[in-house]
Symmetry: C2
Subunit: 319 residues, 2 copies
């Protein structure tokens, strides 16, 4: 713990200590030995496991605007951070929160804590420690999990001949963002579809359980945060192979296709980010899990190939 | 990993990826299985150990001003975060960095990376992962370490009769900050003393080795970030005891006493923060390590008692 370099005002420290009260109820769990309140937290990593750790920041005016509900900021911060654990095939251990705020806003904090709590419970990830600071609004979550030794999923082990697989439907989140920003293209969108699509952006689901089931099966894995083509390129480059993707096999939701038609839906799927689905490779003779689509095959070569052109930047970038 | 909620600009992502190049050389170490470059990092926690984890943010205009050298920002961010591991008696494993910057400033980043590198090497704490984001300047470090199971040092186990001990000299950092801010009281300060005192603020030493040596010996421990009286109160309250401190036994540097005289030096020691020394308790019959002073005894009761009054807020607050 440290205090302010510029101020030694006890009142400020006391005021910010209040914030921990919003979050201290989220700190217990199977692997937690010591939670919020000492110099650091203590966790048990099960024997013969590796610790898996990832850090993600959410910054006002970069990742969210000030009209986003604090519940949504909190929930999405957890889900997007947990998604990295999912991509490694990790089981959840716990997380820490560094929260920077210009002042203590009880209403906003209450909302944030509700969203964080929902994420904590859904992903079995207790909040075991943190730091609260005065400054421009941002959250940094560090999520920790574990994998049996040698079973973590990497980006670098895709092999020629593997099936390229993806969970869920793609493109919904990027279109949901367009709806929120009031600049989506296409005809009017059905109200229920619109709610579903916006929800896919504001409340993504991290595929933690699927990630765990893929251990000992998938040869590589990544979560889709930057868009299918970009993330596929990360895996292809790390593995020294080429990802060949069949556009007709890319899973699209009926809501998205209804909203914008198939061609534009495909563009959102190829280049839109934030779906937080898993992109992974399976050996040719492997069974494919439920709710997973095979969208192509790993070939010799490099980069990503897809049979359609896209007007979007992400696609051209890797074609 | 996640991208920007507001922008899907590939150039921005690419630009910020450059930053990882500044830090990727810092990522190897004894316990690191997988460093920067995949969805998450992987570390080995030794058998029969607990994972110890703490998060600390450094925010522009709250923790540092824009005229602080980026080397100093980086080094101090590491040292102050590591100090929490020291207070737990933990051995270092690794750390992650979440860096938020308004734009990519190569000169500043180079300096920051130099300071971080110095901290990484000094404390044997490789930088295994991170996140770079556009936004107001701040760093959040999450430090991870380990303790043999059951040996971590807590705030809550000080016992009546224990000796109250502190490492090093106190008050130097708070006075160093006063010098930097141009508002120190007292006569002119010797140039060498001034350099030493400012250095105690800008380049604190986390007592990682001492913390490890205290395992199985100290009954409680905390690092001094908020000032002796405040931090002593944290331990006293957590342990349900009273800390009785003899002012004459509080270690003061000759530089500080020369600069401001003994009475004011004592005030800095009691109420000034950021020394990052360890305050701990030892059973009555324990040997006292080198460079450690016994400053009082644990008694029945509550709070902190000291035999001198202080004009500073921190002291009155707990008297």
């Amino acid at each position: 713990m440290r205090k302010n370099w510029l101020s030694t005002n006890v009142a400020v420290v006391g005021e910010f200590d209040v914030i921990t009260r919003y979050f201290s109820s989220l700190g217990s769990g199977e692997f937690v030995d010591l939670s919020v309140g000492d110099d650091a937290a203590a966790l048990t990593v099960p024997p013969n496991s590796e610790l898996i750790v990832s850090t993600d920041s959410s910054v006002l005016d970069t990742h969210f605007t000030d009209d986003v509900f604090p519940e949504d900021v909190g929930y999405k911060a957890v889900a997007s951070a947990v998604s990295d654990l999912a991509a490694m095939g990790a089981e959840p251990l716990g997380m820490t929160l560094a929260l920077t705020m210009p002042s203590v806003d009880d209403l906003w904090l209450h909302g944030l804590s509700q969203g964080l709590a929902r994420g904590c419970h859904e992903y079995r990830l207790p909040l075991v420690g943190g730091d609260t600071t005065r400054g421009p609004l941002s959250l940094t979550l560090t999520v920790m999990g574990f994998c049996p030794r040698g079973e973590k999923l990497l980006r670098s082990e895709a092999r020629v001949g593997d099936k390229i697989c993806v969970s869920g439907c793609l493109g919904d989140a990027a279109f949901g963002l367009s709806v929120m920003q009031g600049n989506y293209r296409g005809s009017e969108v059905d109200v229920d579809d619109q709610e579903y699509l916006v929800g896919r952006f504001t409340h993504p689901k991290a595929r933690l359980d699927l990630g765990c089931r893929l251990r000992q099966h998938a040869t590589s894995c990544i979560d889709l945060s930057d868009g299918l083509l970009q993330d596929a390129a990360h895996v292809a480059n790390a593995s020294g192979v080429r990802f060949s993707i069949h556009s007709a096999a890319i899973p699209l939701s009926t809501a998205l296709v209804s909203a914008v038609g198939e061609a534009l839906a495909l563009e959102y799927a190829l280049s839109g980010g934030e779906d937080y689905e898993l992109l992974f490779t399976l050996p040719p003779d492997s069974d494919v899990p439920d709710e997973v689509s095979v969208i192509g095959a790993v070939e010799t070569g490099e980069g990503v190939y897809c049979d359609v052109m896209s007007r979007e930047q992400g696609y051209d970038h890797f074609h």
